[in-house]
Symmetry: C2
Subunit: 160 residues, 2 copies
Amino acid sequence: MTTDDAPVRSDLDGHLGFLLRLAQVDAFGRFLTRAAMSQGQLTEATLLHLLRLNPGIRQGVLARHLRIKRAHMTKIVQGLDGRRLVDLAIPAEDRRSVTLTLTPTGEAALDALWPRVLRGEAEVPQGLTPEESELLRRLLQKLMTPPGARDQAQDDGHEP
Amino acid sequence: MTTDDAPVRSDLDGHLGFLLRLAQVDAFGRFLTRAAMSQGQLTEATLLHLLRLNPGIRQGVLARHLRIKRAHMTKIVQGLDGRRLVDLAIPAEDRRSVTLTLTPTGEAALDALWPRVLRGEAEVPQGLTPEESELLRRLLQKLMTPPGARDQAQDDGHEP
DNA sequence: TATTGTTATACTCTATAACTATA
DNA sequence: TATAGTTATAGAGTATAACAATA
Protein backbone atom coordinates (compact mmCIF):
# COMPACT_ATOMS: atom_id res chain seq x y z
CA MET A 1 0.00 0.00 0.00
CA THR A 2 2.98 2.25 0.40
CA THR A 3 4.08 3.87 -2.80
CA ASP A 4 7.62 2.80 -2.19
CA ASP A 5 8.80 3.50 -5.73
CA ALA A 6 11.73 2.23 -7.67
CA PRO A 7 14.84 4.11 -6.61
CA VAL A 8 15.64 7.12 -8.76
CA ARG A 9 19.22 7.85 -9.70
CA SER A 10 19.70 11.47 -8.85
CA ASP A 11 22.45 13.88 -7.96
CA LEU A 12 20.05 16.71 -7.30
CA ASP A 13 20.36 16.56 -3.55
CA GLY A 14 24.01 17.37 -4.04
CA HIS A 15 22.81 20.76 -5.26
CA LEU A 16 21.79 23.12 -2.49
CA GLY A 17 19.23 24.92 -4.64
CA PHE A 18 17.32 21.80 -5.59
CA LEU A 19 17.49 20.44 -2.10
CA LEU A 20 16.26 23.69 -0.63
CA ARG A 21 13.30 23.67 -2.98
CA LEU A 22 12.40 20.03 -2.40
CA ALA A 23 12.73 20.34 1.35
CA GLN A 24 10.56 23.43 1.33
CA VAL A 25 7.82 21.80 -0.75
CA ASP A 26 7.99 18.74 1.46
CA ALA A 27 7.80 20.68 4.73
CA PHE A 28 5.15 23.01 3.36
CA GLY A 29 2.92 20.07 2.53
CA ARG A 30 3.28 18.72 6.05
CA PHE A 31 2.57 22.16 7.45
CA LEU A 32 -0.65 22.65 5.49
CA THR A 33 -1.90 19.14 6.20
CA ARG A 34 -1.37 19.51 9.93
CA ALA A 35 -2.73 23.04 10.04
CA ALA A 36 -5.68 21.93 7.90
CA MET A 37 -5.58 25.10 5.87
CA SER A 38 -5.14 26.12 2.27
CA GLN A 39 -2.21 28.05 0.94
CA GLY A 40 -4.42 31.10 0.59
CA GLN A 41 -5.53 30.93 4.21
CA LEU A 42 -1.92 30.72 5.31
CA THR A 43 -0.96 33.78 3.28
CA GLU A 44 -3.88 35.61 4.79
CA ALA A 45 -3.05 34.54 8.34
CA THR A 46 0.55 35.61 7.87
CA LEU A 47 -0.46 39.01 6.62
CA LEU A 48 -2.90 39.56 9.49
CA HIS A 49 -0.24 38.46 11.97
CA LEU A 50 2.25 40.98 10.63
CA LEU A 51 -0.41 43.69 10.66
CA ARG A 52 -0.95 43.06 14.34
CA LEU A 53 2.77 43.52 14.92
CA ASN A 54 2.99 46.51 12.57
CA PRO A 55 -0.24 48.49 12.63
CA GLY A 56 -0.34 51.16 9.94
CA ILE A 57 2.41 49.62 7.83
CA ARG A 58 2.47 50.41 4.12
CA GLN A 59 1.37 47.54 1.93
CA GLY A 60 4.39 47.77 -0.31
CA VAL A 61 6.77 47.38 2.63
CA LEU A 62 4.88 44.30 3.70
CA ALA A 63 4.98 42.93 0.16
CA ARG A 64 8.74 43.28 -0.11
CA HIS A 65 9.23 41.74 3.32
CA LEU A 66 7.25 38.67 2.29
CA ARG A 67 8.59 38.56 -1.27
CA ILE A 68 5.10 39.08 -2.63
CA LYS A 69 4.83 41.01 -5.87
CA ARG A 70 3.16 44.42 -5.65
CA ALA A 71 0.49 43.51 -8.17
CA HIS A 72 -0.37 40.41 -6.23
CA MET A 73 -0.41 42.27 -2.94
CA THR A 74 -3.00 44.63 -4.35
CA LYS A 75 -5.36 41.74 -5.00
CA ILE A 76 -4.78 40.20 -1.58
CA VAL A 77 -5.43 43.51 0.14
CA GLN A 78 -8.60 44.01 -1.89
CA GLY A 79 -9.79 40.63 -0.67
CA LEU A 80 -9.03 41.46 2.97
CA ASP A 81 -10.65 44.86 2.62
CA GLY A 82 -13.75 43.40 0.98
CA ARG A 83 -14.25 41.20 4.01
CA ARG A 84 -13.56 44.09 6.38
CA LEU A 85 -10.54 42.42 7.95
CA VAL A 86 -8.34 45.47 7.42
CA ASP A 87 -8.76 49.20 7.25
CA LEU A 88 -7.02 51.11 4.48
CA ALA A 89 -5.77 54.65 4.89
CA ILE A 90 -3.87 57.12 2.77
CA PRO A 91 -1.28 58.91 4.90
CA ALA A 92 -0.85 62.66 4.41
CA GLU A 93 2.95 62.32 4.31
CA ASP A 94 2.84 60.33 1.10
CA ARG A 95 -0.49 60.20 -0.60
CA ARG A 96 0.65 57.61 -3.11
CA SER A 97 0.86 54.95 -0.45
CA VAL A 98 -1.69 52.87 1.40
CA THR A 99 -1.37 51.88 5.03
CA LEU A 100 -3.11 48.92 6.61
CA THR A 101 -4.57 48.31 10.05
CA LEU A 102 -6.46 45.35 11.48
CA THR A 103 -10.16 45.81 12.15
CA PRO A 104 -11.74 44.05 15.15
CA THR A 105 -13.04 41.49 12.65
CA GLY A 106 -9.49 41.06 11.41
CA GLU A 107 -8.26 40.58 14.97
CA ALA A 108 -10.86 37.89 15.51
CA ALA A 109 -9.99 36.15 12.25
CA LEU A 110 -6.34 36.15 13.22
CA ASP A 111 -7.12 34.74 16.66
CA ALA A 112 -9.01 31.92 14.99
CA LEU A 113 -6.32 31.15 12.42
CA TRP A 114 -3.04 31.60 14.24
CA PRO A 115 -3.24 28.55 16.55
CA ARG A 116 -3.60 26.38 13.47
CA VAL A 117 -0.56 28.04 11.95
CA LEU A 118 1.43 27.19 15.06
CA ARG A 119 0.20 23.61 14.91
CA GLY A 120 1.40 23.32 11.30
CA GLU A 121 4.67 24.99 12.19
CA ALA A 122 5.32 22.40 14.89
CA GLU A 123 5.23 19.72 12.20
CA VAL A 124 8.05 21.23 10.18
CA PRO A 125 11.24 20.29 12.10
CA GLN A 126 10.30 16.61 11.80
CA GLY A 127 13.28 14.36 12.36
CA LEU A 128 15.55 17.09 13.68
CA THR A 129 16.66 17.55 17.24
CA PRO A 130 15.98 20.98 18.74
CA GLU A 131 19.66 21.77 18.36
CA GLU A 132 19.69 20.80 14.69
CA SER A 133 16.53 22.78 14.12
CA GLU A 134 18.11 25.85 15.66
CA LEU A 135 21.26 25.37 13.62
CA LEU A 136 19.20 25.07 10.45
CA ARG A 137 17.44 28.31 11.30
CA ARG A 138 20.73 30.12 11.68
CA LEU A 139 22.08 28.80 8.39
CA LEU A 140 18.91 29.73 6.50
CA GLN A 141 19.00 33.23 7.90
CA LYS A 142 22.57 33.59 6.81
CA LEU A 143 21.58 32.38 3.36
CA MET A 144 18.98 35.08 2.89
CA THR A 145 19.84 38.26 1.10
CA PRO A 146 19.95 41.00 3.73
CA PRO A 147 17.30 43.71 3.28
CA GLY A 148 18.86 46.71 1.58
CA ALA A 149 20.94 44.58 -0.76
CA ARG A 150 17.61 43.39 -2.09
CA ASP A 151 16.04 45.84 -4.50
CA GLN A 152 16.14 45.54 -8.26
CA ALA A 153 15.78 41.78 -8.54
CA GLN A 154 12.53 41.99 -6.59
CA ASP A 155 10.30 44.02 -8.85
CA ASP A 156 9.91 45.92 -12.06
CA GLY A 157 12.87 46.89 -14.18
CA HIS A 158 11.13 49.39 -16.47
CA GLU A 159 12.43 50.57 -19.79
CA PRO A 160 9.70 52.57 -21.52
CA MET B 1 18.04 54.26 -4.94
CA THR B 2 18.05 51.27 -2.66
CA THR B 3 14.62 50.32 -1.44
CA ASP B 4 15.91 50.14 2.09
CA ASP B 5 12.45 50.02 3.66
CA ALA B 6 11.27 50.80 7.13
CA PRO B 7 12.10 47.88 9.42
CA VAL B 8 9.28 45.38 9.81
CA ARG B 9 8.56 43.92 13.20
CA SER B 10 8.40 40.22 12.63
CA ASP B 11 8.88 36.99 14.51
CA LEU B 12 8.44 34.88 11.40
CA ASP B 13 12.10 34.01 11.10
CA GLY B 14 11.76 32.34 14.46
CA HIS B 15 9.53 29.82 12.71
CA LEU B 16 11.40 27.25 10.69
CA GLY B 17 8.59 26.83 8.17
CA PHE B 18 8.37 30.50 7.28
CA LEU B 19 12.09 30.88 7.19
CA LEU B 20 12.47 27.84 4.96
CA ARG B 21 9.96 29.29 2.55
CA LEU B 22 11.44 32.77 2.48
CA ALA B 23 14.97 31.44 2.08
CA GLN B 24 13.87 29.21 -0.75
CA VAL B 25 12.08 32.00 -2.61
CA ASP B 26 15.07 34.25 -2.06
CA ALA B 27 17.63 31.71 -3.27
CA PHE B 28 15.41 30.64 -6.14
CA GLY B 29 15.24 34.21 -7.41
CA ARG B 30 19.02 34.48 -7.35
CA PHE B 31 19.29 31.15 -9.10
CA LEU B 32 16.98 32.08 -11.96
CA THR B 33 18.52 35.51 -12.42
CA ARG B 34 22.03 34.10 -12.65
CA ALA B 35 20.98 31.17 -14.83
CA ALA B 36 18.96 33.56 -17.02
CA MET B 37 16.15 31.08 -17.34
CA SER B 38 12.47 30.90 -16.53
CA GLN B 39 10.99 28.60 -13.96
CA GLY B 40 9.53 26.52 -16.76
CA GLN B 41 12.91 26.08 -18.41
CA LEU B 42 14.37 24.98 -15.11
CA THR B 43 11.66 22.38 -14.57
CA GLU B 44 12.27 21.12 -18.07
CA ALA B 45 16.04 21.01 -17.65
CA THR B 46 15.67 19.12 -14.38
CA LEU B 47 13.39 16.56 -15.96
CA LEU B 48 15.70 16.03 -18.93
CA HIS B 49 18.66 15.69 -16.57
CA LEU B 50 16.91 12.99 -14.55
CA LEU B 51 15.89 11.22 -17.75
CA ARG B 52 19.51 11.05 -18.79
CA LEU B 53 20.33 9.44 -15.44
CA ASN B 54 17.26 7.18 -15.54
CA PRO B 55 16.41 6.25 -19.12
CA GLY B 56 13.09 4.45 -19.36
CA ILE B 57 11.82 5.62 -15.99
CA ARG B 58 8.07 5.79 -15.45
CA GLN B 59 6.70 9.32 -15.41
CA GLY B 60 4.81 8.79 -12.17
CA VAL B 61 7.98 7.76 -10.35
CA LEU B 62 9.67 10.89 -11.60
CA ALA B 63 6.70 13.00 -10.53
CA ARG B 64 6.77 11.68 -6.98
CA HIS B 65 10.50 12.14 -6.75
CA LEU B 66 10.18 15.79 -7.74
CA ARG B 67 6.97 16.43 -5.80
CA ILE B 68 5.17 17.23 -9.02
CA LYS B 69 1.50 16.30 -9.16
CA ARG B 70 0.55 13.54 -11.58
CA ALA B 71 -1.87 15.76 -13.46
CA HIS B 72 0.76 18.42 -13.90
CA MET B 73 3.37 15.90 -14.97
CA THR B 74 1.08 14.77 -17.74
CA LYS B 75 1.02 18.27 -19.19
CA ILE B 76 4.77 18.70 -18.89
CA VAL B 77 5.40 15.39 -20.61
CA GLN B 78 3.00 16.32 -23.39
CA GLY B 79 5.00 19.48 -23.92
CA LEU B 80 8.30 17.61 -24.07
CA ASP B 81 6.82 14.99 -26.37
CA GLY B 82 5.33 17.64 -28.67
CA ARG B 83 8.80 19.07 -29.16
CA ARG B 84 10.28 15.58 -29.63
CA LEU B 85 12.60 15.91 -26.63
CA VAL B 86 11.45 12.61 -25.18
CA ASP B 87 10.18 9.29 -26.44
CA LEU B 88 7.17 7.73 -24.73
CA ALA B 89 6.68 4.01 -24.46
CA ILE B 90 4.16 1.68 -22.88
CA PRO B 91 5.97 -1.24 -21.24
CA ALA B 92 4.48 -4.70 -21.70
CA GLU B 93 4.88 -5.48 -17.97
CA ASP B 94 2.38 -2.78 -17.00
CA ARG B 95 0.44 -1.31 -19.84
CA ARG B 96 -1.08 1.40 -17.63
CA SER B 97 2.25 3.13 -17.26
CA VAL B 98 4.32 5.35 -19.52
CA THR B 99 8.09 5.29 -19.64
CA LEU B 100 10.26 8.13 -20.86
CA THR B 101 13.54 8.26 -22.73
CA LEU B 102 15.55 11.18 -24.07
CA THR B 103 15.67 11.63 -27.83
CA PRO B 104 18.85 12.96 -29.45
CA THR B 105 17.07 16.31 -29.62
CA GLY B 106 16.40 16.03 -25.90
CA GLU B 107 20.04 15.25 -25.24
CA ALA B 108 21.06 18.34 -27.18
CA ALA B 109 18.56 20.52 -25.35
CA LEU B 110 19.87 19.25 -22.03
CA ASP B 111 23.47 19.92 -23.06
CA ALA B 112 22.48 23.48 -23.88
CA LEU B 113 20.55 24.06 -20.65
CA TRP B 114 22.50 22.28 -17.96
CA PRO B 115 25.55 24.59 -17.82
CA ARG B 116 23.18 27.46 -17.09
CA VAL B 117 21.57 25.46 -14.31
CA LEU B 118 24.99 24.91 -12.75
CA ARG B 119 25.74 28.60 -13.02
CA GLY B 120 22.52 29.41 -11.19
CA GLU B 121 23.21 26.74 -8.61
CA ALA B 122 26.57 28.30 -7.83
CA GLU B 123 24.77 31.47 -6.79
CA VAL B 124 22.68 29.76 -4.12
CA PRO B 125 25.10 29.27 -1.18
CA GLN B 126 25.77 33.03 -1.13
CA GLY B 127 27.23 34.13 2.17
CA LEU B 128 27.93 30.63 3.44
CA THR B 129 31.31 29.02 3.80
CA PRO B 130 31.70 25.66 2.05
CA GLU B 131 31.44 23.98 5.45
CA GLU B 132 28.23 25.78 6.32
CA SER B 133 26.81 24.98 2.91
CA GLU B 134 27.58 21.30 3.41
CA LEU B 135 26.06 21.36 6.88
CA LEU B 136 22.95 23.00 5.52
CA ARG B 137 22.66 20.30 2.90
CA ARG B 138 22.82 17.58 5.53
CA LEU B 139 20.20 19.24 7.70
CA LEU B 140 17.82 19.74 4.77
CA GLN B 141 18.17 16.12 3.76
CA LYS B 142 17.37 15.06 7.28
CA LEU B 143 14.33 17.31 7.21
CA MET B 144 12.87 15.64 4.14
CA THR B 145 10.34 12.91 4.52
CA PRO B 146 12.08 9.67 3.53
CA PRO B 147 10.63 8.01 0.41
CA GLY B 148 8.31 5.22 1.49
CA ALA B 149 6.92 7.19 4.41
CA ARG B 150 5.64 9.57 1.78
CA ASP B 151 2.44 8.36 0.16
CA GLN B 152 -1.02 9.57 1.04
CA ALA B 153 -0.29 13.21 1.62
CA GLN B 154 1.23 13.44 -1.83
CA ASP B 155 -1.71 12.72 -4.10
CA ASP B 156 -5.36 11.87 -4.37
CA GLY B 157 -7.40 10.77 -1.40
CA HIS B 158 -10.41 9.30 -3.23
CA GLU B 159 -13.79 8.69 -1.71
CA PRO B 160 -16.21 7.84 -4.50
C1' DT C 1 11.98 61.33 -13.33
C1' DA C 2 11.16 57.95 -9.88
C1' DT C 3 7.96 55.65 -6.80
C1' DT C 4 3.30 53.68 -4.99
C1' DG C 5 -0.17 51.39 -6.11
C1' DT C 6 -3.57 49.63 -9.83
C1' DT C 7 -5.12 47.07 -13.80
C1' DA C 8 -4.67 43.48 -17.06
C1' DT C 9 -2.73 39.45 -19.38
C1' DA C 10 -0.30 35.14 -19.70
C1' DC C 11 1.88 31.37 -17.70
C1' DT C 12 3.27 28.01 -13.93
C1' DC C 13 2.01 25.24 -10.33
C1' DT C 14 -1.35 23.36 -6.95
C1' DA C 15 -5.63 21.08 -5.56
C1' DT C 16 -9.53 18.33 -6.75
C1' DA C 17 -12.21 15.26 -8.87
C1' DA C 18 -14.02 12.40 -12.30
C1' DC C 19 -12.71 9.43 -15.90
C1' DT C 20 -10.13 5.26 -18.74
C1' DA C 21 -7.59 1.36 -19.00
C1' DT C 22 -5.31 -1.62 -17.03
C1' DA C 23 -3.87 -4.70 -12.92
C1' DT D 1 -10.54 -2.74 -5.77
C1' DA D 2 -6.52 -0.27 -6.53
C1' DT D 3 -3.16 1.94 -9.54
C1' DA D 4 -1.24 4.80 -13.80
C1' DG D 5 -2.28 8.12 -16.38
C1' DT D 6 -5.65 11.65 -18.46
C1' DT D 7 -8.82 15.46 -18.61
C1' DA D 8 -10.89 19.53 -16.78
C1' DT D 9 -11.59 23.30 -13.64
C1' DA D 10 -10.51 26.59 -9.98
C1' DG D 11 -7.30 28.99 -7.18
C1' DA D 12 -2.70 30.87 -6.03
C1' DG D 13 1.46 32.86 -7.39
C1' DT D 14 4.77 34.75 -10.77
C1' DA D 15 6.22 37.70 -14.58
C1' DT D 16 5.35 41.70 -17.36
C1' DA D 17 3.96 45.84 -18.77
C1' DA D 18 1.37 49.87 -19.02
C1' DC D 19 -1.02 53.37 -16.38
C1' DA D 20 -2.45 57.26 -12.76
C1' DA D 21 -1.38 59.90 -8.98
C1' DT D 22 2.06 61.69 -6.32
C1' DA D 23 6.74 62.78 -5.00
